[in-house]
Assembly symmetry: C2
Homo-oligomer: 439 residues x 2
């Protein structure tokens, strides 16, 4: 190949990738999250990256974000891939999975799913076109016990608390409280109110009030109560009393308050501020029907949600003649991680997993270096052999630049011992490859 | 949501997905492969699922397999995603990665990459449209020491030997031997011969001979030597002597034989039959320039290659004004795994990672069950609390159906001890949640 075309590649906006020393931290986070999910008995599931478009569209309202696939050189009359799109979240694929494999699963089915998702959005701060989500969901036949609504935030709390990230708050609400309150006020289109209130943090009280009065057609009094409700926020079940004091009554509101109270009560042992009832959380465009979750960084709430989820009744059930409600929550791993990377708040990890570099003092000694490395690997050490015979100083510099903590010297002459140099301390000592330990 | 549309989902051909008890085995395989790669010091890298089309096309000849992305509701004048395609292997993205991050990497750079890739192929046995590959590659500035050509098959051998898969052989060849031999025979278009010989196992001797005579324009004698060469196969360096006895001479052939001999010699300690020199291996359509690898199941070689790779000179260097040769090998994880699943040869794993199910004898006892579960989790056990108060027999059946090995009984009455039931033996004994061990 003699072509001399040089097209220095540039990053593709919205598709993050990391250097090895950052990737090793991301990998550690992923292992930690996975272990945290498994600690609560969630089983791993992966689904294909694509779904049929009618599956992706079944919940509506997200069409503009979907990437569809096309074969670069497909025949005009070949539409075998024409109805495939990359999934934009992991909840819809999971609902499809449960419906499809219904007869082979044991319910309640608790699964975690850690995968990339894609959205054809304009890239901006905190918004990516490809990113990794870490989801846990429970789907059951007919009804999902409410205690799962409390278990999911607890799992997320444990998992995130084990990662070195800035303080965050998981806000909890219940769509039944919102809808029940609006119904109690005699409002005909509660969903329109939910969507308006969902904009509160973007357009403020006046903006929301204007929509409620002018577009939804509420009275001043109705709009006031809706806004009063949205401003209620608290860390314990006293918020339930506060909502009751609004003086609105409906069956749905009572049901929602019972549920919200149960979830808050169940999580009362968590550190103050980590879980907060926030009646402005609506997840307006989503398919939730009860509890809703939304977490944000405390010092930068405008960055957007770093976890989100809630309870849904009709997602899996639409694919099958069964009622299959669920509740789930998703950690926006890339959203969190990329922010910390951009701000230099990730303590970079190792550039490579190598524990020990075995030096090759000369070409004739290479066999001995390889045998030594094999023994070190058998003893459980990640081991590299330097790639060529070279000056020892150069080999040590290579280890140092790669962050390899130990350099191993096989016997240069017969009868001499193996020696290992700790690059952090500079100390070099005799050691047996079969029994040496880095600690 | 009152819609009653029911569209029972069906699998999408070429996009495999697994039930939890199969997925848990795949996850174990992935962990094993990753640990094997890290044992040799390869660092984890992930790249975006997409590349710019001109990057994907830079090596040529694969265009028909590429999936391009389109936003479902993109404006006609918005082409921001128009030049993006899903990667079809991990070598081209890695070469791009190395060129892009050249100044921030330490060379030789050894990386592993375990990701999904996509090809717009017609699905058939062993061919998927989305599948996972596990790659290791070494890229260096100017030249890659030959010992890496021997290290990669050794890593693959160790990794695959630790998985419960049918016997396989890794076939090795060297493109310099092929090209050098053809040049020594005075053949003007050695690449055309490589592509013809690459078809040997599909069309047989007569088919290849016909192409060589009729299309490439070789003489009977030239064609005979090419076919004789392709039939040479052996487990040790005696193949080098056998090739030499063909009586062909060229500088490139000598160089190739030296390299092939070195690799075979370096791997001589591996079990007989695991690595074999096979002069018919050509990887005809690929970008390899020296050593080439191709592994297949011994009892089903027609299933296709389960590992493939080789040495390439000009893949990363085309993106940057530096010479960045590399050598790499890829394990076709999905290819291997899906075959074993289809044949029922995977010993299914656990449906969920739960070690212990804590029973909830009554609603009032739920708090105690939750506290017990928390203590068991702290002690390192993956623990689930049964989702509602129910008959104990039903809770045990749930554990049994999910493959949960232990069922835990918090004290039913004050003063009684905790008890744990081993579902395999049926034995139930007193136990302390803080100190109990499953073993």
């Amino acid at each position: 190949m003699s072509e001399q075309r040089v097209t220095r590649p540039t990053p593709i906006s919205g598709f993050p990738e990391w250097l090895p020393e950052i990737r090793s931290v991301e990998q550690r986070w992923l292992d930690h999250i996975r272990a945290g999910f498994e600690r609560y008995g969630f089983a791993s599931v992966e689904t294909p990256s694509v779904e049929a478009l009618d599956v992706l569209m079944a919940k509506g309202e997200t069409s503009q974000e979907v990437y569809t696939l096309h074969r670069l050189q497909a025949d005009a009359d070949d539409d075998s891939d024409a109805r495939l799109g990359l999934h934009f979240d992991l909840t819809v694929p999971f609902a499809r999975y449960v419906a499809q494999h219904f007869n082979e699963l044991v319910f309640p089915f608790k699964r975690y799913q850690i995968q990339r998702v894609w959205r054809g959005e304009r890239p901006q701060e905190g918004r990516f076109r490809e990113f990794t989500q870490c989801d846990i969901d429970v789907i059951n036949v007919d009804q999902v016990p409410l205690h799962f609504d409390a278990e999911l935030p607890r799992v997320v709390h444990e998992v995130l608390s084990g990662l070195d990230i800035p303080a965050w708050t998981l806000n909890i609400n219940n769509r039944k409280v919102l809808q029940g309150c609006y119904e109690g006020l005699g409002i005909g289109d509660p969903v329109a109110v939910i969507r308006a209130v969902d904009k509160l943090h973007k357009i403020g009280d006046d903006g929301v009030r204007a929509i409620l009065l002018d577009q939804v057609g509420l009275s001043e009094e109705q709009a006031k109560v809706c806004l009063d409700l949205a401003h209620i926020r608290g860390t314990d079940t006293s918020v339930v009393d506060e909502i009751a004091r609004l003086g609105v009554h409906s069956e749905l509101l009572t049901e929602g308050l019972d549920e919200l109270g149960f979830v808050l009560d169940s999580l009362a042992d968590l550190p103050s501020g980590s879980v907060v009832a926030d009646l402005s959380v609506a997840r307006g465009l989503d398919y939730y029907t009860g509890t809703v979750y939304e977490a944000a960084f405390r010092d930068d709430p405008g960055y957007g949600s770093i976890c989100a989820g809630g309870r849904y009744e009709n997602l899996a059930g639409q694919f099958i003649r069964r009622s299959l409600p669920g509740v789930g929550i998703s950690i926006g791993l890339t959203r969190i991680f990329a922010k910390l990377v951009a701000e230099g708040r990730i303590a970079t990890g190792r550039q490579c997993p190598t524990d020990v570099l075995v030096v090759v003092p000369s070409g004739e000694r290479r066999g001995e270096a390889l045998r030594t490395a094999a023994r070190l690997r058998e003893a459980g050490h990640n081991t590299e052999v330097y790639h060529q015979a070279d000056k020892v100083g150069k080999q040590i510099r290579y280890a140092s630049r790669k962050g390899i903590p130990f350099v191993w010297f096989p016997p240069f002459e017969d009868g001499r011992p193996h020696e290992v140099k700790d690059l952090a301390s500079g100390e070099q000592t005799a050691a047996d490859p079969a029994t040496w330990s880095a600690r």
